[in-house]
């Protein structure tokens, strides 16, 4: 048996799974009963969408990689629930939760996974490359850490255009050792950009634990100090805490145009991707402990039941509706057509998609 990895989620492990100490934080106290139910509904929708994806994958309908977000729902839900008109986001490849949170539909997301023309990217992107620029969501990026400079550029543009906004650039704990991330940190701090680097620390960069991949002084966020950036660590199993600490970072971005690094401790229940048999690098007991004691959806449900916002009946109805919606999305994807061969060479160049007398390109640009 593999040596159990040393757990590195000090913030979350120290805390008992009781009521959230952040429930009364102003950002959460301001939530109406309906807001809270909606937040719970969104987390449940992510959970059930992802679990439905497993079945679709096992049926052989999803090719390539499938990185599931199950266990991490509170991160996307908490952070994205705070965003306004000029707040943008960009993520790595574990992107389904963020997509659903910004308002992308289960249908277009499921159809993208099965490579259908009705997918959010017309079947050209796949699981790792969801985009919804109309919802300020700039992808879905497959190369670890490669999105960090792009996010810095989004924040630069927000500032250049004079908007009171920000960019949230998400990455996993494995991304923090990429040079591009450090270059992005430096530029963000040097130019006072309104960006929040969100490290979703689920403890493992693929099959390599944090201890075996990252030199760090207790936590990864602290590296921000080397760039003079503010940082914080967050219990990612508590959506109230995620909201509270993200709101402070957002305030810093909006009001001072300053960057923040947030390290949010979270956990994934499934392998790095569906291609990961998940047998070599962590103990089943560890997964069980998180599922039973730290599950972000269950914890928030308990919280809302105790607050008398949610009833068991309402919770059941929300979960059943989310499952039905995911089932319906799978059926929609099944019934959708493939893109055509002619579609392969579309959407490569803006100028080709709009070619005319006014465009700046002539000549041959797609070759035989």
């Amino acid at each position: 048996m593999a040596t159990p990895a040393v757990l590195t989620h000090p913030e979350s492990l120290k805390r008992p799974a009781g009521p959230s100490e952040y429930a009364k934080h102003p950002i959460n106290a301001a939530l109406s009963k309906e807001d809270k139910i909606e937040l719970y509904r969104k987390m449940a929708r992510i959970r059930h969408f992802e679990q439905r994806c497993i079945r679709v994958y096992q049926q052989g309908k999803i090719g390539g990689f499938l990185h599931l977000y199950v266990g991490q729902e509170a991160v996307a839900a908490g952070t994205i629930s705070l965003l306004g008109k000029h707040d943008h986001l960009i993520t790595g490849y574990r992107d389904h939760g963020h997509a659903l949170m910004v308002g992308m539909g289960m249908n277009e997301c499921m159809a993208e996974l099965t490579g259908k023309a009705t997918g959010c990217s017309q079947g050209k992107g796949g699981s790792m490359h969801y985009f919804a620029p109309d919802k300020n969501y700039w992808g879905g990026h497959g190369i670890v850490g490669g999105q960090a400079p792009l996010g810095t550029g989004l924040a630069y543009a927000v500032k250049y255009l004079g908007h009171k906004g920000s960019c949230l650039a998400y990455m996993g704990d494995g991304a923090v050792n990429q040079g591009a991330v450090h270059e992005a940190y430096n530029l963000a701090a040097l130019w006072d950009l309104p960006i929040i680097f969100v490290i979703e620390n689920n403890g493992y960069s693929m099959g390599t634990s944090q201890e075996r991949s990252s030199a760090h002084p207790g936590c990864l966020a602290k590296r921000a100090e080397g760039y003079g950036m503010a940082w914080d660590v967050v219990n990612g199993h508590d959506v109230y805490e995620v909201r509270a600490k993200t709101s402070a970072a957002l305030k810093r971005a909006h009001e001072e145009s300053k960057p923040t690094v947030l390290e949010i401790f979270t956990y994934r229940y499934y392998g790095h991707s569906m291609a990961d048999p998940d047998k070599t690098y962590r103990d089943k007991e560890e997964i069980k402990e998180y599922r039973e004691q730290k599950d972000p959806v269950l914890l928030f449900e308990k919280e809302l039941l105790a607050e008398k916002v949610l009833t068991p009946e309402l919770s059941q109805a929300i979960n059943e509706a989310a499952m039905a919606e995911a089932d319906q999305a799978a059926a929609f994807a099944d019934a959708s057509p493939d893109p055509t061969v002619a579609d392969i060479t579309k959407n490569i160049y803006w100028e080709e998609d709009h070619r005319g007398p006014q465009t700046t390109s002539r000549g041959t640009i797609i070759f035989e």
Partner: protein, 325 residues
Amino acid sequence: MPVITYREALRAAMREELQRDEKVVLMGEEVAQFNGAYKVTEGLLKEFGPKRVVDTPISEAGFIGLGIGASMLGIRPVMELMFWSFSYVAFDQIVNNAGNIRYMSGGLINCPIVIRGPANGGTNVGATHSHTPEAILASHPGIKVVCPATPYDAKGLMKAAIRDNDPVYVMENTILYNDKGEVPDEDYIVPLGVADVKRTGEDLTIVAHGRAVITSLKAAEILEKEHGVSVEVVDLRSIRPLDEATVLQSVRKTHRVLLVEENKPFCGVDAQVAYLIQSKAFDELDAPIHRVSSIDAPQIYCKRLEDQQLPNAQRVVAEALKVLA
């Protein structure tokens, strides 16, 4: 018509586009306060201020990626690489991000970014600073590449690149920066994907791009004076998109072809051009197509030998005579 240098033509293009569109931003190492490592951006900080002309740290993956991200939100960054050789540390941003985002988003996003700077050997600086990556980059659908050879084309292509809504990589040449030519004051663009017949002739077509055009024009003079051969020189100007029609038209006229480029031969731009000609004008050829490229080795430091490694007029003349034999 005013006569200005290639460097001044590039600067004029950027100045005019900075004036025309407030979303145009120049960015790069030493472009602002230092006035440009090659003085291409000289005076622009003073004229437009630090919001529009921005010095970056030496951090190509970071600042090129930043420019691409900003372009997604409608900023039109013109990013200087001090050498295109430095693009290799930003390859993921330049290829994977700028080149693929439109496609992977199913056409929802475009990246109107220009990356520009010199891409040439011949400056006695050794292998790491002498790369010519136009073929490497143009091999990626989603990316456009242009290589101006004259001041007129430098200005017109740069202005077209800045107005283009896709990533356009402009490969300049430090050896050409002081070359002079006629450049109109008024607004004009050279559209991407339009080749230019720089010299008309009857007996042989030379296809070239970048500084190889200048070398080929010198060779054409020698061939005419010393060998009585009439040479047509086609300047591709743009690698992707590629003006196939102008190349083929010249081939149909002369029936003999020499391809000249400063790239190394393996998978160079001319490998594609040779394929084009044999596939679409095979019956027009009276002789096999020949090529002159850089001698196939990392760029040598020794200046006397580097001048031999690159295509020069003597090598072009010698190879042309073989095609004509």
